[in-house]
């Protein structure tokens, strides 16, 4: 039974990977389908990292956009090619960071491998920076509970955004101007592999003894503490790990967007991710992933016509005006929440549901 499931999960992962490779081979990299997959992978990663905190540890934090900002800037600053820095940092004489990780590593490891390795190192540094910040913020903030924790983390994210636009930091962050011209994975395959691997790490964590301790804290803090689980230590651990993945996710988002600016990491980005987590089911990793793909695909692609006059063959420019799409999305979300009170998946995972189906059918022992 157990072995069968592992084989099944492996099979699904392999199918997704092959699907991504085929998609890359058939479509040009600027095709909307590729873009949707890329963005959905990034959002999946960030949503799962948020779920680790909000869903599995029961800490209601809204700092996700702040940690993503740290990751995005780390990636961008470390990866812009030296030759293009003068153009990017126009107002700051080319900035003070005068190296580029992908270039350094391509000098050491060869062009192709070195560039990818440098990009990965930059993402990792972004994650670590976010984790370090989370540790420091966590020292005072994690004493708070529920709504108060949410407000404190939200405030932190907003302060960070303002701070990054500060002129004095300009030589590093380029002030409120765009950072651009850094490298990206050309197709969706790179995103799928990297995002998949990172999410897999979170899944392993959640199912380890530490993940179980997190769930115990969520279910009953007093009982967890009485059973010898150090609350301060474990909450900090969950916060730091979640922020690490949010940081890496932020770096990948910067990659996807092609140009990054502190202004885009507003609290509305956190809300978007929170929405995905809640609709997918708080405490369900597969729920977060599925919802990310559904949400991004409908907002970025399938419902586009609602904004541009023509949808499903109906031509009604008077109704389908700019902004109509988001109105429809809001209605859909309300309907989903009304019918699925605990999100699409509740706190179950996809394999759990399949198993139950099998049991009902009487085929399982």
């Amino acid at each position: 039974m157990k072995k069968k499931e592992t084989v099944f999960v492996m099979g699904v992962l392999l199918a997704v990977l092959i699907g991504a490779i085929i998609l890359d081979a058939l479509l040009p990299s600027y095709h909307i389908a590729i873009k949707v997959v890329k963005k959905a992978v990034v959002y999946s990663l960030v949503a799962v990292s948020m779920n680790l905190l909000n869903g599995f540890t029961g800490l209601f934090s809204l700092g996700q956009a702040g940690f993503m900002l740290l990751g995005a800037y780390s990636y961008a600053v470390l990866c812009i090619p030296v030759a293009k820095r003068a153009g990017v940092y126009q107002q700051y004489n080319g900035g003070i960071v005068q190296f580029s990780l992908p270039e350094i590593f391509s000098g050491l490891l060869g062009d192709k491998i070195g560039t990818v390795f440098g990009m990965l190192v930059a993402l990792l540094i972004g994650g670590i920076l976010a984790a370090v910040f989370a540790y420091l913020i966590g020292l005072p903030v994690l004493r708070l509970k529920s709504d108060y924790l949410a407000i404190a983390t939200l405030g932190f994210a907003e302060i960070l955004r303002a701070f990054f636009q500060w002129r004095t930091l300009g030589p590093v962050t380029n002030g409120s101007n765009l950072l651009k011209n850094y490298p990206d994975f050309s197709g969706a395959t790179g995103y799928i592999i990297l995002g998949g691997a990172l999410i897999a790490v979170i899944v392993l964590l959640v199912n380890s003894t530490y993940g179980r301790a997190f769930i115990a804290i969520r279910d009953d803090e007093i009982a967890a503490e009485a059973m010898g689980i150090n609350l301060a230590h474990h909450k900090r651990l969950a916060f730091v790990i979640s922020s690490f993945f949010a940081g890496v996710g932020g770096g990948m988002l910067a990659m996807y967007m092609g140009a990054v600016q502190a202004l885009s990491f507003k609290s509305s980005m956190t809300y978007e991710i929170l929405l995905i987590v809640v609709i997918g089911g708080i405490g369900s990793i597969t729920g977060s992933i599925l919802t990310s793909f559904l949400y991004i695909a409908s907002v970025e692609w399938l419902l586009r016509g609602l904004d541009s006059g023509k949808f499903l063959g109906i031509n009604a420019p008077a109704v389908f005006k700019n902004g109509f799409r988001m109105a429809i999305v809001s209605v859909i979300i309300m309907v989903v929440v009304l019918f699925f009170r605990k999100g699409i998946m509740g706190d179950k995972e996809l394999p759990d549901l399949l198993r139950r189906r099998a049991k009902k059918g009487g085929s399982a022992q």
Binding site: T209, I215, R218, D219, A226, I241
Partner: protein, 282 residues
């Protein structure tokens, strides 16, 4: 004479102007089953909470297994409003108020009066999670499954405990789906998973019928023998208390009013008065 395991000295717990536990001193020796009884609101659970670190006692000292684990004296505003006795006794001692997890790690595990199982988890996982405290793996080795031997060991021990308390047949049920009596047993199994020297039971038989209570009494007796435990319990069911306790402490309005072996306590006039509610001027 066996060794002293838990020693509570002059424990006072004051909330605002209310003294919930007043100058309580008691001792528990290794291998004993000791009961703490008293009418509703006497301060029994408060005393438990002060011993296990849920509350910081206002005054007093608790020693466990030969070393001081909790020590406090009235400070700040409490210095002026303190209504208890012996405010100066522990002034010169170092203040110690560890969190409950630290106290559990020393070998003292408890159950709760109002059952506090992890609701979303199965019976098996409730016991397994409690094993986390003893895990030596760090978050990396645990995530990347480099602790396989420890993990298997934990699972095996958790399963053994379930067998011991007779819950192995429902290991995959949600904890909240169990009947009340079995949930209480699961709480005991969970506490045992931390490998305690001293087990504190807060009304283990609450809500049980006489038959279940007798079974529970036998069970507590049995695990004491099997695991070499010491048991300290709060209980209202006098049949159970009289049947298995080696010694009894009686609390009324926060004060210790009697102590001794069951037969002594049973015939103590103050205890009878406390339970029947004799008025002062009668």
């Amino acid at each position: 004479m066996s060794r002293n395991l838990l020693k509570v000295e002059n424990l006072t717990m004051q909330f605002g102007g209310v003294v919930a536990v007043d100058n309580l001193s008691l001792e528990i020796n290794e291998g004993e089953i000791v009961a703490l009884i008293g009418p509703n609101g006497a301060g029994k659970t408060t005393a438990f909470n002060a011993i296990t670190g849920v509350y910081e006692p206002t005054n007093g000292r608790v020693s466990f297994d030969g070393s001081v684990i909790v020590c406090n004296h009235p400070q700040g505003k409490m210095e002026r409003t303190y209504k208890g006795e012996l405010a100066d006794l522990y002034k010169s001692e170092r203040i110690l108020n560890p969190t409950p997890d630290k106290i559990t790690a020393l070998g003292m595990a408890r159950t709760f009066q109002n059952i506090r199982l992890w609701k979303s988890q199965t019976v098996f996982h409730n016991v397994l999670i409690a094993k986390h405290m003893l895990a030596k793996s760090n978050v990396f080795t645990a995530t990347f499954r480099l602790n396989r031997r420890e993990e298997e060991e934990q699972r095996r021990e958790a399963m053994e405990l379930l067998r011991l308390v007779g819950l192995d047949d429902v290991r995959d049920e949600l904890a909240t789906n169990l009947p009340y009596g079995r949930q209480r047993r699961l709480e005991i199994a969970r506490a045992l998973a931390t490998k305690p020297k001293l087990l504190l039971l807060d009304e283990p038989a609450a809500g049980m019928n006489p038959q279940e209570t007798i079974e529970l009494a036998d069970f507590v007796h049995e695990i004491r023998e099997k695991m070499g435990l010491t048991v300290f319990m709060i209980e209202h069911h006098m049949d159970m208390v009289m049947k298995i306790s080696d010694r009894i402490y009686v609390l009324d309005f926060g004060k210790l009013i009697a102590q001794g072996i069951p037969s002594e306590v049973q015939s103590n006039q103050r205890v009878i008065d406390a339970y029947l509610g004799v008025t002062e001027d009668a």
